[in-house]
Structure formats: structure tokens, C-alpha cells
Amino acid sequence: MLLAYRAALASPRIRACAIEATEFPTLADSLDVRSVPRIVVNGVPQWDGAVPERVFVKRILAAATDRRPRVDSRE
């Protein structure tokens, strides 16, 4: 989680939210959250579990070009 916060603090283009899955079950179910941490970028689930910083940055940047439709209910 802290890597996401660090990324948001470092870039004006990034925002980062921790979401307590058990308290928002409808949203968590829509994103098929079964284990935590589950990382979702722009409404598209990307991966589960903690990763090193280098991998984290690589994956979120790859997610920036992910064309799959968002699956949460925000938009």
C-alpha cells in the first residue's frame, strides 16, 4: 500500500486509495477481491500481493495502457 501512496505523492497524475474490502463488499465483489492486497488500476484488477518497488512501478505503468474495460461501478 505504501508504494501506491508514495507514487501518488510523487506524481500529480497518480492518486492512490486503500479500500477496506470487508467494509465495501459490493465494490470488492465487483472486482472479484479474494485475497489482499489486490491492486486495481483505473478500475481494472491488475495483480494480488506485495511486490518490490521496481516491479510495482513497472506494473502500474503497464496498466496505464491497459485497454480492458473497467469493471467497478464508479463510472
Binding site: L3, R6, C17, A21
Partner: protein, 142 residues
């Protein structure tokens, strides 16, 4: 019930007092999602406010305020971490209890740093980002 154990409290107090810049916590209250069975007696908003107040009480470097459905929040309760009054988009949604209290404290400590704790290579790569990214990390308190 105290927010921190005595030994934890002293450590968190030291860390907060060492912040490079002040951090404000905005607690957003509003309609919560239908509580899970067994959680009906917990007022998540009031409890979030109590925890954030307990955190802010540890240091002059940390303050907090509470608003009802302020703009910039997608669900409630939520906490925005605002370094120097700016909003870099750092949020915690839900009650930050148990293991997740450390997430909120970590967010405050990161926000209070004058310089990023990311590696220079990471900062370089993020600086090249040409579109907006909303990162949601689902967590549980246990």
C-alpha cells in the same frame, strides 16, 4: 479503548514529531455501505473519527478536521492525507483499524516527507507518465 498500545504510541509520536512538513487529515463522513452481519453495532464513521483524532493528538505536526460528504470522496468513511494543505490524492476508505492503522500512519509519514522515498529510477519513470492513474489497493484489517 486507546488507539495505540503505550509502546506503539511513543514510537508513533517520535515519528510524527520528525515530519518535515505538517499533515492534515480530512475525515469524510457520509452514508456507509450496508454493514456486514456482525458489524451492525459498529459506527464506522464515528470510529474512524476517533482513531484519526487519536493519531492527530500525538503530534503538533498532524491535525484533522471532519466534514460531511466533502467533494473528492467516492465512499464513506474516508480519510484524505493532505501534506501542507495540498491534496495529492492519498485516501484511506473504511475504518483504519487493526493491521490497517499502520497503513494510515504510513501514509501520514510518507506525506510528511519533504523528499520522496522512492528510488530515483522510479521517480524518473513516473515523471514520464502521460495519463492519469487511479490506483486502488484492497486491504483487510487482519
Amino acid at each position: 479503548m486507546p488507539v495505540f498500545r503505550a509502546d506503539e504510541e511513543e514510537r508513533v509520536r517520535e515519528l510524527l514529531d520528525a515530519l518535515d512538513r505538517p499533515v492534515e487529515l480530512l475525515v469524510a463522513l457520509g452514508p456507509a455501505e450496508t454493514p456486514l452481519p456482525g458489524a451492525r453495532d459498529v459506527d464506522f464513521g464515528a470510529e474512524t473519527e476517533r482513531i484519526v483524532a487519536g493519531l492527530a493528538a500525538l503530534s503538533d505536526r498532524v491535525s484533522f478536521r471532519v466534514e460531511d460528504e466533502p467533494p473528492g470522496f467516492e465512499r464513506y468513511p474516508g480519510v484524505a492525507v493532505l501534506p501542507d494543505g495540498d491534496d495529492p490524492g492519498v485516501r484511506y476508505y473504511g475504518l483504519p483499524w487493526g493491521h490497517e492503522l499502520a497503513t494510515l500512519v504510513g501514509g501520514v509519514l510518507e506525506a510528511g516527507r519533504a523528499a520522496s522515498s522512492l528510488a530515483p529510477e522510479s521517480l524518473e519513470r513516473l515523471a514520464a507518465l502521460d495519463r492519469d492513474l487511479a490506483i486502488d489497493v484492497f486491504v483487510t484489517p487482519t
